[in-house]
């Protein structure tokens, strides 16, 4: 049973001034694996500077940084002038459940001077993860960014008797994200193989498996297969059962005895994708807001709280923040919407505020819930004022927050939005002429 397959290994042209050479022993193009994992093994010999580690990246996400510390004796004869042949080799294991089903992994060398040299890109795919779990409550994912009205939307959703959500809504409940994080770690071979082959120290969080030496696959094929396939599915099933157990507990406390959905916010990462794999009846709302207003709201909220949140503290000025941080997040959200627009439901914050009845009715129809009975009550919850929602507000009235960017953003920040957010604003139906400064 093939669970992971490497369809192509694209080798990058490497400048001879950077490296004496490199080689990827594994994986090879066409390699198939009866596990949600594959080994990455090879060597890289630095010329300009020593290669200290090899990094594996999934888009912007760093999967591994593994030190080059394996001796490759054959290299000393081939590269007599090179230093470091006694520690040029690397080995690591990639958990393909930590990747999209169609994946690209960049393999690159990190040199002693902190520069990087791209070595290869692995193209592959994996089978979806399936478990025997039959959910009694399905996920209603609200995939969004910060300051898009997600907190008030959660509150609105929680008023429906078929939907359970975890109060208080000023917190960020991450029940499903938590358990999928646990699952991703425990279904990683570097972790689960240590039950049988506990390489390295047995101390602290040794069982997460990230500390070298990494355990190799058992040579006992039956045991290895069970660990790689059956046990992985069983661990995933348990994580699903915990999500449901927590939400049943919350539902009991909320007086929602038989919910059909558990509503939770999700970041724009790979967790919603995995939720779709595990829950074929899942629903997903992609919640957006004019990203210029979103940025203005972030800045106002930072002022209100008296600290720089949303990673604003990592940048010198607002424009840089928009170009580097906001652009990446917004682009990822647009990509997620594009990938799942056939199955997900788009809500624009502005529509929710200006036309709550129709926006909520449309959402309930998407969820397959009765839109006639509860839409009005949910719309009323949207405008209810209480200390919890008041703390989140940065304008006296939600309607007043629409288009606030014209007054609130500096000219530099507005120009930055104009320069980099145009495609995403267009994709979500925001008029581009508004971008002009």
């Amino acid at each position: 049973m093939t669970l992971s397959e490497i369809s192509a290994v694209e080798m990058h042209a490497v400048d001879g001034e950077d490296l004496w050479g490199f080689h990827l022993d594994a994986p090879e193009a066409g390699a198939v694996h009866d596990a949600y994992a594959f080994d990455v093994r090879g060597w890289a010999l630095g010329r300009r500077a020593k290669v200290t580690s090899v990094e594996l990246k999934d888009g912007p996400r760093l999967l591994w940084r593994v030190p080059t510390q394996i001796a490759r004796k054959e290299l000393s004869g081939r590269y007599p002038l090179a230093e470091g042949t006694d520690a040029a080799g690397f080995f690591t294991i990639v958990n393909s459940l930590n990747l999209s089903r169609e994946f690209e992994v960049l393999v690159r060398a990190r040199l002693d001077d902190a520069s990087r040299v791209d070595l290869a890109t692995l193209h592959g795919h994996r089978e979806p993860l399936r478990t025997g779990f039959e959910p009694g409550i399905d996920p209603l994912m609200v995939t969004t960014l910060g300051r898009t009205g997600s907190t008030i939307l959660m509150k609105v959703l929680a008023t429906h008797p078929d939907i359970v959500a975890c109060p208080p809504f000023e917190h960020e409940p991450r029940v499903a994200t938590y358990w999928l994080g646990v699952m991703t770690t425990l279904t990683d071979p570097v972790s689960y193989r240590r039950q049988i082959n506990p390489t390295g120290s047995i101390d602290g969080t040794w069982w997460t498996g990230k500390e070298p030496p990494l355990p190799r696959r058992s040579k006992d094929a039956r045991l290895a297969h069970w660990l790689d396939v059956d046990a992985v599915s069983q661990v995933a099933e348990f994580c699903q059962s915990r999500i449901e157990a927590v939400y049943r507990e919350i539902a009991a406390g909320a007086g929602t005895p038989a919910p059909r959905f558990f509503a939770e916010k999700y970041r724009v990462d790979r967790i919603p994708e995995m939720m779709w794999e595990l829950y074929p009846r899942a629903r997903e709302v992609i919640l957006v807001r004019d990203f210029r207003d979103m940025v203005a709201s972030m800045f106002a909220y930072n002022v209100k709280r008296g600290r720089e949140g949303f990673r604003r503290d990592r940048f010198d000025d607002d424009a840089q923040y928009v170009v580097k941080q906001i652009k990446e997040s917004v682009a990822a959200l647009a990509t997620a919407w594009e990938a799942r627009r056939d199955s997900a439901h788009l809500i624009r914050y502005e529509d929710l505020v200006i036309d709550p009845e129709n926006t909520i009715a449309s959402l309930l129809r998407y969820l397959g819930l009765d839109a006639d009975t509860h839409a009005d009550a949910m719309a009323a919850a949207l405008s209810a004022r209480d200390p919890e929602t008041e703390w989140h507000r940065t304008t006296p009235d939600p309607r007043a927050s629409i288009g606030r960017w014209r007054d609130d953003l500096s000219e530099e920040a507005r120009r930055a939005c104009e320069q980099v957010l145009g495609p995403e604003l267009r994709a979500f139906g925001y008029p581009l002429e508004e971008v002009r400064v």
């Binding site: 049988i196 506990p198 046990a231 069983q234 507990e249």
Partner: protein, 449 residues
């Protein structure tokens, strides 16, 4: 459809506080108090809240350490406490002198004594108090197919040989002990303990998602009452939820060892696994498996030291906490002695239910020792069975030679400390290990009785 009963309750107190003895030191502290817990508290969770304040005299209190042995939590001193400031006018550090957090008592022994210690910015430490109490044993509803046969021991005590011997009994399964030393039980109990930590389970409700690390483990300590305003949810997460995690850990341990047993088409009653006494793993296994068995395997600690030294030299690396070129005397005092003391404490806790095996007896009188041990475990201990086990275990297998550090056979390893240890180190060992040696049945002079 998978269903879970909601609002299932554990009705008995899971943690009770016997006393809180203050220990504030006026030299270092202007004022301090441990406000929670209080003597007489009866908690419905295994989570224990710890709160209070500490105002340093010459230096600001930086953090408070709550600890018992290797189990320790750190609570930053930074909570805003207007009430404390009002009572201590003129003390600039009083306004943010509060500390609060919650600790997982499953990391503690059933009867515990927690030290609460303030660490000041000038490096001074002073005890705020000692909390004594007891917790309920961890129970789950899981009915295991296999019972643990835990070998609680330290490194280089002959434990691999003992596991190998036990695995040659048809009622016991173990997986290739000379090649891999499986730790499936330790793995799952460590996961259970980590997820039962309030710092972790509260992340479900207030998630601080930070990649790429395992953010869901949480960091530091968290006050569950602030993060979980739903008291019932808080109680459930600290009690029934933990029991359900324990049931899953047991189910996985079963699954792994049943799979191992299936490789040889065995139908065992026990799985045998080594456990270090640290991290409370043997204790929690003892609580979760009332029908389980535990063997404390000891060896003259001076011979153990010799064997550690030889094994590290043979492999060319530093293992067993022998972390780099530290003086051997320091290694004995700072690493081995606490480990031995911990092992002894564990033995005292469970001597009523566990069996003691001395390496020397196993080597010098294997048949007699094994027969007695099997009898106590409650499996076939006939002469024929023991002879068969010893014959099978004596067959050479890959990996066995790597474990040996003496050339004259295991018998030659007994009392090796007399020739291998330098006299000053012998003296240090005599002083440090005297109590434990005596309690485990070794003569002060060194030879096993």
């Amino acid at each position: 459809m998978t269903r879970h009963p909601a609002r299932e309750r554990i009705s008995v107190p899971l943690c009770e506080i016997d006393s809180v003895r203050p220990g504030a030191d006026a030299d270092h502290l202007t004022s301090a108090a441990v406000e929670a817990p209080s003597a007489g508290d009866r908690l419905a969770t295994w989570t224990l809240p710890v709160t209070g304040w500490a105002i340093g005299r010459r230096s600001r209190a930086r953090q408070v350490r709550v600890s018992q042995g290797a189990a320790r939590w750190t609570l930053p001193v930074h909570d805003h406490r207007a009430d404390v400031a009002d009572r201590h006018p003129g003390h600039e550090w009083a306004r943010h002198s509060g500390f609060s957090g919650a600790v997982n008592t499953l990391r503690l022994r059933p009867r515990f004594a927690l030290d609460v210690t303030a660490e000041l910015e000038d490096g001074a430490e002073t005890r705020l108090g000692t909390v004594t109490g007891h917790r309920a044993p961890l129970r789950s509803g899981y009915e295991p197919e296999l019972q643990p046969l835990v070998v609680t021991t330290l490194g280089r005590t002959g434990s691999t040989w003992l596991i190998h011997l036990l695995a040659s009994h048809p009622s016991v399964t173990a997986y290739r002990p000379f090649s891999f030393e499986p730790r499936a039980a330790t793995y799952w109990i460590d996961i259970l303990t980590s997820l039962a930590e309030p710092a972790s389970y509260t992340q479900q409700v207030e998630g601080e998602v930070r990649y790429p690390g395992p953010w869901w483990l949480g960091s530091g300590t968290r006050m569950t009452s602030e993060l979980l305003p739903d008291e019932e949810l808080s109680r459930w997460l600290g009690s029934a939820h933990v029991s359900e995690l324990a049931a899953f850990a047991q189910q996985r341990i079963d699954a792994v060892y049943l799979r191992v047993a299936a490789l040889d088409e065995d139908r065992p009653e026990f799985f045998a696994e080594k456990c270090l006494p640290e991290h409370n793993v043997p204790q929690l296994l003892h609580e979760l498996y009332p029908e389980g068995r535990e063997i404390f395997l000891v060896r003259d600690f001076r011979d153990m030291l010799c064997s550690i030294r030889s094994f590290n030299e043979k492999r060319g690396n530093a293992a067993f906490g022998y972390d780099g070129p530290i003086a051997e005397e320091s290694y004995v005092l700072d690493v081995l002695a606490p480990s031995v003391e911990n092992l002894l404490d564990e033995w005292r806790d469970r001597a009523g239910s566990a069996q003691l095996v001395r390496y020397e007896d196993l080597i010098l009188n294997p048949a007699q020792t094994l027969r007695g041990l099997l009898g106590q475990i409650g499996v076939d201990s006939s002469e024929e069975r023991v002879d068969d086990m010893l014959a099978r275990a004596a067959e050479s297998i890959p990996g066995m030679a790597v474990h040996r550090t003496t050339s004259g056979g295991p018998q030659a390893s007994i009392g090796r400390w007399r020739r291998d240890l330098e006299p000053p180190l012998q003296k240090v060992c005599e002083e440090v290990f005297a109590g434990a040696l005596a309690e485990f049945g070794y003569e002060a002079g060194g030879a096993a009785r």
